[in-house]
Amino acid sequence: MVVAGTIKANIGLVTLVVASFFTLQAQAQKPALQLIQDPASPNYGSVRVAGVDLYSIQRIQSMQFDFDDWKAIFPVMLQAANTQSDMPAILGSYSTDESSLIFTPRFRFVPGLTYEAQFNFPLLYSMLAEKPPYPSKDILSLSFTIDDLTSHPPTRVTQIYPTSSELPMNQLKLYLHFSGNMQKGQAYDNIQLFHSTGEAVEAPFLEIPQELWNSNGNRLTVLFDPGRIKRDLAPNLQMGLPLQEGRSYRLVIDKSWKDQFGNSLQREFVKEFKVVAVDRESPNPEKWKKVLPKAGTRDPIQLHFGEALDHALLQRMIWVLTEKNEQVEGSISITNVEKTWQFTPVEPWAEAEFNIAIDSRLEDLAGNSISRLFDTDLSKDTVSEERTIYIPISLITTSSID
């Protein structure tokens, strides 16, 4: 879509201002600045100087201008109202076609912001060392505001893990899942923890500038301040654990958190939970209850832990191997408030021996892994090496419960 002149198009307010310092002489072909708004492109569009004669285009191509030359002739900037003085021109690439000079921004134009493009006609011809096709000392300028043409469903919090309404006093991690990609750098302003009385809990979380997002940008890991959880460290001694046994809490995810399109969350999300005793025991696979499927079926293998384990780690720290040590293809689901892991194979189970493999770095809610406790009391506990633990199983045609 091409917009030029003083057209008020449905895509937003676009105005062209010709700053004329001298009387314009009537000419058939004069260049004009245009915004080409294309929401489908990654850049949301481009800006062009249209109506440039072919000879000038050829001369420009032969000059091989660099970015500095281009931005002197044809800068595109955030409008001064958005910034202060001496702000740099926007990074982007310049190109030509048979009648236009084209600026494509390196990153998309941001909906709602106002930009200004300028075309310095006299400077161009002075740099080309050519007589302009018509005498003019005009500097063209185009101010434009980008409207967001695409509609994005509002993003919401889809789940917070652990899903249990009872958490141990030394709970270490929370995983916040969103329906879309969120903006980064706002997390700690939008996550609040309150006592059931309504009073805010002081500094419960570790505020990591990097923010621990997953690759898709839709899951954030939040750590309770480990300095307060670890026994005998100064924050632990001075402030105590962030969560206190027997008390109830409300975790509130604020609606004002912005998604990647700058929209607020659809609604506030609240998780209420009660705090139970500290957990200072490592998960012990020997105590897990196994429910094994019959060979020939696609029924799942189930492991019941008897306690909730870390939701994210459960997705990748337990897998099933064949006798030949090949991983069985299938899907994992975590159920029963993260107390149960189940694995459904793609193909029916063969009547054979298998191994359930467990990475000993698998953690419970308090960050105790199979191989070691979150903090180890040197006078009592032992630490074992990280390893893979194998539970051999034998699948037969009649169901068995271990």
Binding site: T83, I90, K173, S215, A234, L313, R316
Partner: protein, 363 residues
């Protein structure tokens, strides 16, 4: 981050006008590395920039070919965040500066910046901003995931992220501290450079003992390798406030290394950068913090400090090595410019984020 010792070494090497065929870049290939989310950057020798990518959990060494020596003694950019944002066509809310590193040869300042969940490297020379494009460059890379998980990932599981919290290059080794978004780990890596194919490197779990009683592991947020009389040690700051030293000589693959806790620098705070600098011929360690003043510590005091055994009960108190609280706050990034100057990216009292140069004689 930053390293004055490397900086001085660099100036020496730059004088030799090393081209692309040095031992460091011999195995580099020309191409476009797969870099998706830069958490940390760090200069090594010969204008080589180490880029830590959280998304692919890898380090890419790029030859910037930005090797013209400069003796500039001051760099500055007022409202650095606003200018970088405007350069990227956005406002400060839409960008994040994830790290900053000074090229010790050219004195250009490099910023890793995130916009729209894409990473870009911005280079500042004088007051001119430009993009350092990571396309068609000489580079070499190494992945940080250990064999257990790479095996699992090859079998179709999604890649894990590793937010790289700090990088340092010293004695032909790249030291990497990282923070997983899933397991709570203190995995620390010492990788020989140049990187080799299928290279094995040390991954170690580092621990500190609180007051002789509880042993615990935690991610390191910032560290600096420093040559003490007894050998090279890492001075590391944690998410949970202690300052700990680790002897590099004990870092063998898979080992469980115990550090010496030398200070607790106050709660609700996290060291964000640590560097070494010289003033009047004496070495100092400088620690920038998330919520406290920049602190200055004498390496000799660290060496002399016995591991802390007495718990600290007073709120906001500190214990261990003596430190001087310098009248500089909210330094978000810092690096050595040369042996007499340090560069701060700092939130100023007027609310601006400025890039400024501070003489070491003032620190």
């Amino acid at each position: 981050m930053k390293k004055f010792i490397i900086a001085t070494l660099m100036v020496g090497i730059a004088g030799l006008a090393v081209a692309n065929n040095s031992d460091y870049t011999k195995a580099f290939e020309r191409g476009t590395p797969n870099i998706q989310s830069i958490s940390q950057i760090e200069f090594g020798p010969e204008g080589i920039l180490f880029v830590g990518d959280a998304m692919t959990a890898s380090i890419v060494a790029i030859s910037t070919e930005d090797n013209s020596p400069s003796s500039v003694e001051s760099v500055q950019l007022k409202e650095a965040d606003k200018k970088i944002a405007a350069f990227l066509g956005a406002t400060v809310e839409q960008i994040r500066i994830t790290d900053m590193a000074v090229n010790p040869i050219s004195k250009s300042v490099y910023f890793s910046v995130n916009r729209d969940n894409q990473s870009v490297l911005i280079k500042l020379t004088g007051e001119k901003l430009e993009e350092f494009t990571m396309a068609d460059v000489l580079y070499s890379s190494i992945t940080l995931n250990n064999p257990v998980s790479t095996e699992a990932e090859r079998r179709g599981r999604k890649l894990r992220r590793l937010a790289i919290t700090d990088l340092a290059f010293k004695d032909d080794k790249l030291f990497v501290a990282g923070l997983s978004n899933e397991e709570f780990s203190s995995a620390f890596r010492a990788i020989p450079f140049p990187f080799k194919e299928d290279q094995s490197f040390s991954t170690l779990e580092i621990f500190h003992v609180s007051h002789g009683k509880y042993e615990t592991h935690a991610p390191v947020t910032a560290f600096e390798p420093y040559e003490f009389e007894d050998g090279l040690e890492l001075i590391a700051g944690y998410t949970c406030t202690p300052l700990v030293t680790f002897p590099v000589s004990q870092m063998k693959n898979g080992q469980h290394v115990k550090g010496k806790t030398v200070a607790e620098l106050g709660n609700r705070n996290m060291p964000v950068e640590i560097l070494a600098y010289q003033r009047d011929g004496e070495d100092f360690i400088l620690i920038a913090n998330s919520k406290r003043n920049v602190m200055r510590v004498r390496p000799a005091d660290i060496a002399a400090q016995k591991s802390l055994t007495e718990p600290l009960k007073e709120r906001h108190g500190t214990v261990g090595v003596d430190f001087a609280a310098i009248a500089e706050v909210y330094v978000q990034q810092m690096d050595n410019l040369d042996k007499n100057n340090v560069v701060f990216l700092q939130l100023m009292p007027n609310g601006n984020l400025d890039l400024r140069t501070v003489k070491t004689s003032r620190l």
